[in-house]
Symmetry: C2
Amino acid sequence: MLVAEVETPALLIDADALEANIATMATALPGPRLRPHVKAHKCTELARRQAAAGHRNFTCATIRECEGMAAAGLGEDLLLANEVLDARRIGNLVAAGARVTVAVDSPQTIEAAAGGGVREVLIDVNVGLPRCGCAPQDAGRLADRARSRGLQVRGVMGYEGHVVGLPDAAERAEKCRAAMELLVAAHADVGGDLVSGGGTGTYELNTWANEIQAGSYALMDTAYGKLGLPYRQAAFVLATVVSRSDGWAVGNAGLKALAMDHGNPDVADGTVMFCSDEHVTFRPPRPVGEQAWLAPAHIDPTMSCHERAYVFSGEKVVDVWPVDLRGW
Amino acid sequence: MLVAEVETPALLIDADALEANIATMATALPGPRLRPHVKAHKCTELARRQAAAGHRNFTCATIRECEGMAAAGLGEDLLLANEVLDARRIGNLVAAGARVTVAVDSPQTIEAAAGGGVREVLIDVNVGLPRCGCAPQDAGRLADRARSRGLQVRGVMGYEGHVVGLPDAAERAEKCRAAMELLVAAHADVGGDLVSGGGTGTYELNTWANEIQAGSYALMDTAYGKLGLPYRQAAFVLATVVSRSDGWAVGNAGLKALAMDHGNPDVADGTVMFCSDEHVTFRPPRPVGEQAWLAPAHIDPTMSCHERAYVFSGEKVVDVWPVDLRGW
């Protein structure tokens, strides 16, 4: 099939850009130095390419991501970098032979892990992002509690999500250091082998974590595209111009094909005016029937809008990958 | 199952609110005066309730919505209120016995309809929203062209999408009038029985269209909730507090469960600080394990994040409906 024949709207992946992005990262952070985050693509076929590049350990954000990765034979060492209060589905995976480590940050999440059949945990430490993670000074106490419940504590994780998108590289480096010093101090209280953190925006700056949870580097988006990183846009939403006027054109991809939390997508050779449920209005006008290539502002929730991704090289579609880790 | 037992994140529908919303609308716009827009819920089970209230004609935004409605036995009179350049799947539905009318606004979309086996069209007229629709003065000429290609022209449609959300009711009424006068003038040039337009924000103001395409009224969202309409919030995203600190709580529903184009959701008894892929951070803090009810800012793209909806009455889940019209 040719790209020109793909029924739109559709999610397209540039095979060459993806391969280059994966290779660049595998050189910078070889093997277990990277624990790719599958939430950024939700696609086991893409994860297979990351595994082939040497990364056998993966990060997940949902139980279903863990289940799908294990079912795809990629369950050698999965980290559920998220808190859960019902860990029984994870326990089932562990019983079936997958290795799944779960983040905990409270007595309740420790109880859920122990009660659900989880064997290994990481202590999730808040390093400045107002989200999950215990206070750094509580990490050691939680680790003791987890051990007392029979759980093996593999170390700590802390995600500097308030830092990864900062446009100024020097500020990003400084705030990454401050965040990771908190994590390193917590690690001293906790013990274990793993110090897990980082993202695409800090993958080279974060020299404190011994594994980096980057995910967006593989497909990229326009937000990370502004940081000057050596990764290029590999995912696009393809639309067809279905209507035009003197002032604008309308493509058939909108809010159900593109996440808007980071703003409008970019359109090649034009400016997006706004998106609605099934449409993107942009200028200048372009003939009805032409394709319009949209670069998403935020890749993770855009991927989860799509059932499949068309992988292309040049003008040809070379593969179709199910986006098979969606849902919960 | 009890609501307290639902695995989160989950989309919940308040059966009593839904029933009241459907009844209120069926009284205001009985039978064919309303052509409910299924893009707002993407759920054939919900459409069945609208049909049971007397509305047998439906509006769709995608080909898959048409296919799913026809497969569910709700294909008596479907309007695809959107332009398509490959109408063959619609032609297949028509050949199989569904009635599907397709919007056209250009020579190309007329050719696609005729070539794809479509028999009936509406002329889509731009009434002020910078999106699809021909210029009003071109409508008659396009209708002639469609007829010359063997298509039956059932009338006109024009969506005043730039008007439906205006907070001031008087301004909404005045701009609705201006938009619909354009549509009525185009209708005089086009002929046919249908003058189709309107939405939840103008369903009572728009007395020019003889059928109203409202959809959001059934489930509502916080954007429409600000307009003082007699419909109440019936759809919620249910989250569980998985982490808390001194300053905030974190629920396990985020950008993959909630569309952000209209802004953050509302959280009961609190204020949302921000959403990330799988989390909502809000204040004040609340105990780990508690449920948090989120009211989406925009219902349509929120529904398309979910595979199913849990219908509840009081504390009990009374039904589970597949959100079966997702994708394209």
